[in-house]
Symmetry: C2
Amino acid sequence: MAEAPRKKARLPAGDRRALLEDAARACMARGGIREFTVDRIVAEAGVSRGLITHHFGSMDGLLVAVYARMYREWMEVIEAPRPGLSRIEAIIEALVSPELFDRDVLNIWLTLWGEISNNPVLREAHRQLYGDYRATIAAALREAAQANGRELDADTVASAFICLVDGFGVQRCVEPALLTEADARAACRAFLGPHVGPF
Amino acid sequence: MAEAPRKKARLPAGDRRALLEDAARACMARGGIREFTVDRIVAEAGVSRGLITHHFGSMDGLLVAVYARMYREWMEVIEAPRPGLSRIEAIIEALVSPELFDRDVLNIWLTLWGEISNNPVLREAHRQLYGDYRATIAAALREAAQANGRELDADTVASAFICLVDGFGVQRCVEPALLTEADARAACRAFLGPHVGPF
DNA sequence: GCTGATACTATACAACCGTTCAGCAAGGAT
DNA sequence: ATCCTTGCTGAACGGTTGTATAGTATCAGC
């Protein structure tokens, strides 16, 4: 006979934190910032009301943790090596992959952007991470341009490219039918081609 | 001696509606959807708590009204004739103009996108208006391409172009320093040039 | 087996949420 | 002068918000 499931078993601190972060993301994916509330999140996670404050200090603390985890997972997919593809191609494929080009994921991002724009605590957290993202894209662009013997202002192009990608996210949230994964890939390639040359 | 200001003077119904819409936008520009509350809005407008329900039935009603007005004003600037410029150039100049390329305006849009994505009432309102926007852009693209004797899938390119523009909005809200009006203009032209030819 | 730290629960709290509604004020019609 | 309609107020409602905190369970070190 299997062990009877002990109620309220002790868990390593990290597990419970991750559980709450996942629950918070599920709520945000479902209903944006309006679902990011203590009651919804603890109900989703199946824990007591006090646990959020216990682990994160405040709702802002949890919000920052969610942002950090979203960012980390995003970058993992972006930076994953894809055999046979150049770095810039790999990035484009990552951006239209099921992991990143996903309504739930993008709805969480849309929600986070809205908060970054208005919440000083999250804005500060964003500032620290965002530079890395742009630098990664810019490095891939520089690499592709060099392979074709071209000059380019990698930072500026990377910035505009990120705008395009963020816009895909918006579009996919507000008008999902209008933008397929193939459209997004084609738009990325059409956008970057003139700047870095064939890839 | 001037007329003594009468308190609670009667106003045409439309004026009071517009007053509330403006107050709601001021709140959203300041703090996103979290500031879109009855108390904040009526305080901003200097009217009583009951007035929102009286004129709009509910907060969702006001939200739809705000969206409709944002859309109308956006389109007015987009469609304004600009002597000496082609239609597509005029649209790009409109997009980077002080009226549209404005932190407050774009923060309201970012807030509205987040709501469209999660609020069925607003999503329905959006669906009806959005098609017109895309059609306007697509028509300008077709015109430019024809002038250069080119073929293009105007709807698809318009859709991707709108993504780019929406992404500018996101970027300007979450990282205002990184994207100047000149950057945005240059990115628009670089994006459209390869599709429609010189303009 | 005690002690102290840690993980967690559950209640309580004041503040705020959107909506309802009774009533007042002002003007037009009769 | 009296009614009715309309624009608007302001109090009241039940429900939800985030946080503070007292109390309970569990485990490591001794």
